[in-house]
Every structure is written in structure tokens, then in C-alpha cells.
């Protein structure tokens, strides 16, 4: 199976690999997936407390090239968005942007889950109610 050029580009030059200080109040961390399933994503956002804008995002991913590309792309899209806007990022837009084949759709779902988990972690730390999400598609 050949990878799309965009997947290869994110794999070779991943954007925003790294770690933010998860103990800080304005940092939200989402850790999703499981080693046994072959993919684990950790996605972090750093929120500007005055504006509610995500000023930085970092990821680390254990997984295939499509998982790495999905999380790299997600961090790119998160930066500059408000937390409320970020919630609306949908896995299918990741699928379209990266031309993921059907067997790799779960990578995009994982990225969406990671975004939501990071946002909820941030909300919890800052005294907001955690958002409830419908169960994603089974993957």
C-alpha cells in the first residue's frame, strides 16, 4: 500500500513533536490508544489564559506513519484556534487532508479523540465541566 505524499511529508518532517509541562494549569494533555493496539497518541495544548486561544500544541505518537501524520496535522490545526473551535475538529477532515485509506481511518479517529481528551483535561484543570462526547465509531 502506498502512502499519500502528505502522510510521507508529515512522517519525515513531523510538526510539533515534543512535550509540554503537564503540571501547568493552562496545559491540557490527552493520551489515547493502547500499546497492544499498536498506536498510542499523546497530544497537548497550551492555552493563552487571557484569550482562550491555543498558542502551542505538541504531540508524541507510537504508531504507524498514518498515526504520526494524523497527530502532526492535528497539532498544526490546533494552534491559533480557540478551545471552543478546536472541539469541532472532525476526524473526516483529517482523512480528507491526508488521503487516508479506509484501513487507516482509525488513526484519524484517534487524533480526534486525543484533541478532545486534551481539551477536557484543560477544562477540568480550570474548573469547567468536562464535555461529553458521543462514542466515536468503533475502531
Amino acid at each position: 500500500m502506498a502512502y499519500s505524499e502528505k502522510v510521507i511529508d508529515h512522517y519525515q518532517n513531523p510538526k510539533n513533536v515534543g512535550t509540554l509541562d503537564k503540571s501547568r494549569n493552562n496545559v491540557g494533555t490527552g493520551l489515547v490508544g493502547a500499546p497492544e493496539c499498536g498506536d498510542v497518541m499523546r497530544l497537548q495544548i497550551e492555552v493563552d489564559e487571557a484569550t482562550g486561544i491555543i498558542k502551542d500544541a505538541k504531540f508524541k505518537t507510537f504508531g504507524c506513519g498514518s498515526a504520526i501524520a494524523s497527530s502532526s496535522l492535528a497539532t498544526e490545526w490546533l494552534k491559533g484556534k480557540s478551545v471552543d473551535e478546536a472541539v469541532t475538529i472532525d476526524n473526516m477532515t483529517i482523512v480528507e487532508e491526508l488521503n487516508l485509506p479506509p484501513v487507516k481511518i482509525h488513526c484519524s479517529v484517534l487524533a480526534e479523540d486525543a484533541i478532545k481528551a486534551a481539551i477536557n483535561d484543560y477544562r477540568k484543570k480550570n474548573g469547567y465541566e468536562e464535555l461529553k462526547f458521543e462514542e466515536g465509531i468503533v475502531h
Partner: protein, 405 residues
């Protein structure tokens, strides 16, 4: 000068040796006859070529030429041996013993046998990938008619104690079938010294063409018979109908002759390269060898690089190096390798494995390049791996509640 892509997947298939191709070519256009045409020179030439190839094939495994049944490959050989014995010996019993890291061609055939009213015991292998002889013997029942255990495993290269297995089979009057696809032509295999009653092997794993293989069926002590699985012209002593693939068979014969002459020298040279590759890669932190180190084919190494995922790892260099992984993402089923799981490896280590299969045309330069590329990619991906970061921070990954999906 290195030429890309480098091929290190010789357990999947091998290139045809140019000498094999040279031997085959006349049988496509000039001597193209049907080996079953008894009444003209075209048929005679084809038959003669098949007879000669049958001798070459038999000689490599210490068999009599009459004991070689040509097939389309090892999947057919596995099917013919297991289903053929099950049907032929139905009056003696219906129980077959096999093991859980056999090739799918054996495992799925056994599942079929179960649907047909047969009983199958799937022995678990030891953590080193080898059969436990005591467990094998304990699994034998009065109704057992066949032990089906592979000679060498295709993913980890481990070589089973075939002589000991056959001794047990003999003692209990049970037939012993071995899928020897990975072993024949790579290490000495002798059906008499090894005590094998039926054995499947194939040309394309030993520098011959695809689409041709053989099933060895013992004729003496005991005389073994299998029920044909295809009806037709009664070729191959009635056990396998179908017009013989003459060019393929000629190529198979040539490949066997070359293997007989060159196997020892090849194994020594390739074994040294494998050891060089393996030692270099095992010096990478948290790299683990899968399968027994000693009882192993000389050209295979299966290594897990903890905290990186196999397909992601392959992507770092698979434009230039052809390799396989036990990772789920590289398989059609999306399940990680059942062979590695059977060794007791967690799914995470199974996902992190690479199989290196060296061959007759592998060079030291290729090995050095591979070591460099794999090491660099492992290091790069670990920098991106949350699991590696946790490991480095001393966090036990087993204590984390993962969101299984």
C-alpha cells in the same frame, strides 16, 4: 555501489537464480510438450525433463524420485498431505496434532478438518518457539493418525527437533508430516535421517520459480498414501492430477541441484552476515531477539524494537530496504503476528518487530546500510514515542489504564 531497493525478505520469496531461469527457458518455446503425451518427441522430451528434475529434487532431501509428487506450491502440498491423510486413514482414527505457530496453510487446513468431523490438537510452543516434546507425546491418543509440525518457522526461523518428533511418531505408529518450506535448500534436510513420512516444500523459497512445489510421500517403512484432492487425469501416481508445469519443474530441479552444491557455503557466508546484522541491532537499547538463538535457520533474524511500532519503523526506510514486520498494520487482518504472540510476547512487542531474511545475493554492504538505517529510524521514532518517554521517566507502562479501542 549499493542498488536500491535492498531485498531482505527472503522468507517471503527469493529471486530466481539466473542459472535456474537459463535451465527453464527452452521448455517454454522449444520443448513445450505435455509430459503426459506418450506418443511423440515433444511429450518424450518433457517427460525426460520432468524425470530428471524429479531426481534433482529427490536427491536434495534424500528421497527416492518416485516419492516426489509435484504440486503448485507448499500451500497445495500442506492441503494434500493433511486432507489426504485424514481421508485415507479415516478407518484408523480422526485425530491430528499440530502446533499454534504453523503456517496458515496448515492451520486453516486443520480448521477445515475440524469441520469435517476431525479432531485437532494445537500444541503451544515454548517461549523460544520450539515444540515441547513431552507435551507432544502427552497429546497422542489412540485415534491420532498424524503429527503435523513445521521443520522451521517462517517468521522467527526456529528449527524444530525434527528427529525427536519423528521418533515419537514412530513409537506410536503415527505418520509425521512436516511443512519444510523454510528449511529445504537452506539447511540439510534428509527425509530418512529425519524420519519424515510426508513433507511439503516449494521452489520459490530456494531461488526457483513461483508456482511449483513438491510433496514428499514415503513409499517404504511405512508405505504412505494420500487421497487425491483434485480429480482428473491421474498424474503423479494418482495423487495429484493436472498437467505438469514442465518449465517450473525444470527450474525447481535446477534450484535443488544448486542448493545441494552450494547450501553449505551459502549458509556459512549468510550466517556470518546475519550475525553481524543481529549483533549490531541487538546493541540498540531495548531491542529483543524473538525465537531461539541456537536452533535457528542461518539467514533469519526477528527483532523487536520496544516502544516503536513496526509499520512506522518500516516507513522510515522501505523505499530502500524491503523487510517485513509482525505489526498488525502491515497485515491484512489488522492483528499482530500470531506467531510472536504465541511466544508469549505482549501485543506491544509483536507490533514492534521486524523480520530480516538474508539470502544468496545479500552483501555485507547491504547489511551495513540496513543496520545504519534501522538504528537511525528507531532512534528518530523513539524521540516521537510517548511510550519511550514514559519508559525513560521510569513509568511502568503496565500500570497505565489504556483506553482500549
Amino acid at each position: 555501489m549499493l542498488q536500491f531497493p535492498i531485498y531482505l525478505d527472503h522468507n517471503a520469496t527469493t529471486p530466481c537464480d539466473p542459472r535456474v531461469v537459463d535451465a527453464m527457458i527452452p521448455y517454454f518455446t522449444q520443448s513445450f510438450g505435455n509430459a503426459a503425451s506418450r506418443n511423440h518427441p515433444y511429450g518424450w522430451q518433457a517427460e525426460e525433463a520432468v524425470d530428471y528434475a524429479r531426481e534433482q529434487v529427490a536427491k536434495l532431501v534424500g528421497a527416492d524420485p518416485k516419492e516426489i509428487i509435484f504440486t503448485s506450491g507448499a500451500t497445495e502440498g500442506d492441503n494434500l498431505a493433511i486432507k489426504g491423510v485424514f481421508e485415507m486413514y479415516a478407518s484408523k482414527g480422526n485425530h491430528i496434532i499440530t502446533c499454534n505457530i504453523e503456517h496458515k496453510a496448515v492451520l486453516d487446513t486443520c480448521k477445515h478438518i475440524e469441520k469435517e468431523g476431525g479432531e485437532v490438537t494445537y500444541l503451544k510452543v515454548k517461549p523460544n518457539g520450539l515444540i515441547d516434546l513431552a507435551e507432544l507425546e502427552a497429546a497422542i491418543k489412540p485415534t491420532t493418525i498424524l503429527i503435523a509440525v513445521m521443520y522451521a518457522n517462517n517468521e522467527i526461523g526456529t528449527v524444530n527437533p525434527v528427529k525427536e518428533i519423528s521418533a515419537i511418531a514412530r513409537r506410536h505408529g503415527i505418520l509425521f508430516f512436516s511443512d519444510a518450506v523454510q528449511a529445504v535448500g537452506k539447511i540439510p534436510v534428509d527425509v530418512n535421517k529425519d524420519g519424515i513420512d510426508l513433507m511439503a516444500f516449494t521452489a520459490h523459497k530456494m531461488y526457483g520459480p513461483k508456482g511449483v512445489g513438491a510433496l514428499y510421500v514415503r513409499r517404504k517403512n511405512p508405505r504412505v498414501k494420500v487421497t487425491a484432492q483434485m480429480d482428473g487425469g491421474g498424474h503423479e501416481r494418482g495423487m495429484r492430477s493436472g498437467t505438469l508445469n514442465v518449465p517450473g519443474i525444470v527450474g525447481f530441479g535446477k534450484a535443488c541441484e544448486l542448493a545441494l552444491n552450494e547450501m553449505q557455503a551459502d549458509a556459512e557466508r549468510i550466517g556470518k552476515l546475519r550475525d553481524k546484522l543481529e549483533n549490531a541491532l541487538l546493541s540498540v537499547e531495548e531491542a529483543h531477539l524473538n525465537g531461539d538463538k541456537e536452533h535457528r535457520l542461518p539467514h533469519v533474524s526477528n527483532i523487536s524494537f520496544k516502544y516503536v511500532e513496526g509499520e512506522g519503523l518500516l516507513m522510515g526506510f522501505n523505499k530502500n530496504i524491503a523487510l517485513s514486520s509482525g505489526s498488525a498494520c502491515t497485515s491484512a487482518s489488522l492483528e499482530p503476528s500470531y506467531v510472536l504472540k504465541a511466544l508469549g510476547l505482549g501485543d506491544d512487542l509483536a507490533h514492534s518487530s521486524l523480520r530480516f531474511g538474508l539470502g544468496r545475493f545479500t552483501t555485507e554492504e547491504q547489511v551495513d546500510y540496513t543496520v545504519e538505517q534501522v538504528t537511525n529510524t528507531v532512534n528518530k521514532l523513539r524521540e516521537m514515542s510517548p511510550l519511550w518517554e514514559m519508559y525513560k521517566e521510569g513509568i511502568d507502562l503496565n500500570t497505565i489504564e489504556w483506553a482500549h479501542h
